[in-house]
């Protein structure tokens, strides 16, 4: 069940490469929202696209990522089952359409309350990219027509605040999956939400066009490992909600980090040997991981690592 969801997620994610930021034409009518209790205040919701993190408590509701516009009513319905408190925070882990696609729809659905304003938070680069001028000088989309854009952006190494009885830290991970990635730590619930920096069932999509880099990706994964503290025998303790795929813990992040490091080293070695991108691809540096992370994403991953390392 979850496994199928993960594949779908990976598929959507892959499909998005060409069209990040746009609404997909895909039909969501039959998509069901799965709700997974994670730990304490935290739930993971998944329909299609990225995972949604929900923190509910005495103050209200905090959301991380919003999937796609057509799914928002269904997500809302599930959230209401979890908590009837007001939705006061939406955090976007990064700019891709399967994570910010539902922002506007949520903004419209959430009742306005001047005393409990809705804060939509993301790193400044997310807002910059969302509002940037289009290709060949087309005017950028304005926050006026998109009230759901993250206008409570931050541009410091981290932002912290206190909500639902626990501290919440939002860390900026420079140039990892994109240049606007946030990793969120719920310190009381002991849960980390990683966005697409970590996707246990698919190769990381290092979006070089949007400022991603393999070095930043690895640094970010190491930082996530600093935040996670396993209980006995390297399992449990801090739980990790990835950008796509199942609920994980530290050990899963370690596996993933090691894969990225090993592939990076292999590609680096081939570059040193003066191999071209095609030659590198042909030598299948990910062969031993393809069955786990999906061969369909391998070339894209290798290409991204190659470009990121070679600067070409």
């Amino acid at each position: 069940m979850k496994w199928r969801a993960a594949i779908l997620a990976a598929g959507v994610c892959g499909w998005l490469v060409s069209a990040a930021g746009q609404q997909p034409q895909q039909n969501f009518d039959n998509v069901k929202i799965q709700v997974t209790p994670v730990q304490k205040n935290i739930y993971m919701l998944f329909g299609a696209g990225g995972n949604v993190t929900v923190q509910g408590g005495k103050d209200g509701v905090l959301l991380i990522d919003t999937e796609f516009e057509p799914l928002v009513p269904k997500l809302m319905a599930e959230i209401k089952k979890l908590s009837d408190g007001p939705i006061q925070y939406i955090i976007n882990t990064h700019v891709h359409g399967d994570h910010v696609g539902g922002n506007d729809a949520f903004y419209k659905l959430i009742p306005k309350n001047p005393q409990l304003p809705l804060n939509i938070i993301a790193h400044a680069n997310v807002l910059n990219r969302l509002t940037a001028p289009g290709p060949n000088g087309a005017p950028g989309t304005s926050t006026a027509e998109h009230p759901g854009f993250p206008e409570d952006e931050y541009d410091t190494p981290y932002k912290d605040f206190y909500y639902n009885g626990e501290p919440i830290f939002i860390y900026h991970e420079p140039n990892a999956h994109t240049d606007g990635d946030s990793v969120i730590l719920f310190r009381g619930s002991d849960v980390v939400t990683t966005g697409d920096i970590f996707t246990p069932d698919s190769y990381p999509f290092i979006d070089i066009a949007r400022g991603g880099s393999v070095k930043g990706e690895i640094d970010a994964l190491d930082h996530i490992l600093e935040l996670t503290v396993p209980a006995d025998h390297q399992e449990g303790g801090t739980y990790v909600i990835p950008g796509h795929g199942r609920v994980c813990d530290e050990a899963d992040v370690v596996e993933f980090r090691d894969m990225v490091v090993i592939v990076k080293d292999r590609v680096q070695d081939l570059i040193k040997k003066g191999k071209t991108l095609d030659q590198v691809k042909a030598s299948k540096p990910t062969e031993d991981y393809d069955t786990e992370y999906g061969a369909n994403g391998a070339d894209r991953f290798v290409e991204a690592v190659y470009k990121s390392l070679s600067g070409k």
């Binding site: 005393q115 409990l116 931050y154 410091t156 190494p157 981290y158 932002k159 912290d160």
Partner: protein, 303 residues
């Protein structure tokens, strides 16, 4: 007959009920009156104005060193409410509510709410003890009240360090504040006595008046401190090095007051000080700052 009936009902009630509580009921919404120190309380105090404070050398130097940039640069200061002792002379409106014991209907506590930074406070009326000395402190502190006739005598401990005046004269976390609340018709009079062994040489007494003003909507404030950027190497806390604060003489010159009086201290606050206080260095022709604060019950403007 009719009269008898009424009296009779009363009589039965007296016989069948517990004696009524004979306290003043402070509950409701109140608006502060700024008929004293309006310029200090609303626009804010002049820098280096320690007049009327029995401040000691330590408190005076804290004021001299104070740089208001601290509030903008040190995020821990951004969303502070006033200490409960200062709040009663602050510039926001006040709502007082009361808790009753659900069974006996006896008053258990007064709660005060002040819009500025949503300052909330509880004054316990049920005789509970104060927490131990090593317990946490708060902006409101821990307050207990005891009635003396129509006056509520309040004792507050466990306060966080705050200001006595918003120009940096501090009140320490060791202070014990006693208050005396009384109500005359629609006027609430609050007498605040600050005992601070750290910064004062004798108790500071200030009394404020509030007017009953029901039906107000007193809103909370939503302040989120800016993220604490990890400080650059060599932590920055804005302040003036001793002897370098350029603003300390302003208030004396603006209002034609001897500098020594501006520096405050218990001895400057006795009537006989007028005989020895000396001459101001500079006396303006006429009033130039805040001369009409409160004219026609209006606001406080600089000119």
């Amino acid at each position: 007959m009719k009269i008898f009936k009424q009296i009779g009902i009363a009589g039965l009630l007296v016989l069948t009920s517990v004696p009524g509580y004979s306290e003043i009921d402070f509950t409701g919404s109140w608006t502060p009156l700024f008929h004293e120190d309006y310029p200090e309380r609303f626009p804010g105090p002049e820098l280096g104005d320690y007049m009327g404070i029995p401040v000691n050398a330590a408190g005076r130097l804290r004021g001299d060193s104070y740089d208001a940039d601290r509030i903008s640069m040190v995020s821990q200061y951004e969303c502070r409410p006033h200490g409960s002792d200062y709040n009663m002379r602050g510039s926001a409106n006040l709502r007082i509510s009361r808790d009753l014991d659900p069974v006996t209907q006896a008053p258990v506590a007064f709660h005060t709410f002040i819009g500025f930074q949503s300052a909330q406070r509880t004054i316990w009326l049920d005789g509970r003890p104060h927490p131990p000395e090593y317990a946490d402190h708060s902006w409101a502190g821990f307050s207990t009240g005891v009635w003396d006739g129509n006056m509520l005598n309040i004792t507050t401990t466990h306060l966080k360090e705050y200001y006595i005046r918003r120009n940096g004269v501090p009140r320490s976390d060791q202070a014990v504040v006693t208050e005396h609340w009384t109500r005359h018709g629609n006027y609430l009079t609050v007498i605040v006595v600050i005992n601070d062994p750290v910064f004062l040489t004798e108790p500071l007494v200030r009394s404020e008046n509030w007017i009953y003003d029901p039906g107000q909507e007193i809103l909370p404030s939503n302040c989120e401190p800016a993220p604490e950027v990890p400080n650059p190497p060599g932590v920055i806390t804005p302040h003036h090095l001793p002897g370098t604060n350029p603003f300390l003489h302003e208030v004396a010159d603006w209002y034609g007051i001897p500098y020594d009086a501006v520096r405050g201290g218990a001895e400057t606050m006795r009537p006989e000080y007028r005989k020895v206080m000396g001459k101001p260095e500079h006396v303006p022709e006429k009033c130039e700052r805040y001369c009409d604060c409160g004219k026609d019950a209006g606001a406080c403007n600089l000119h």
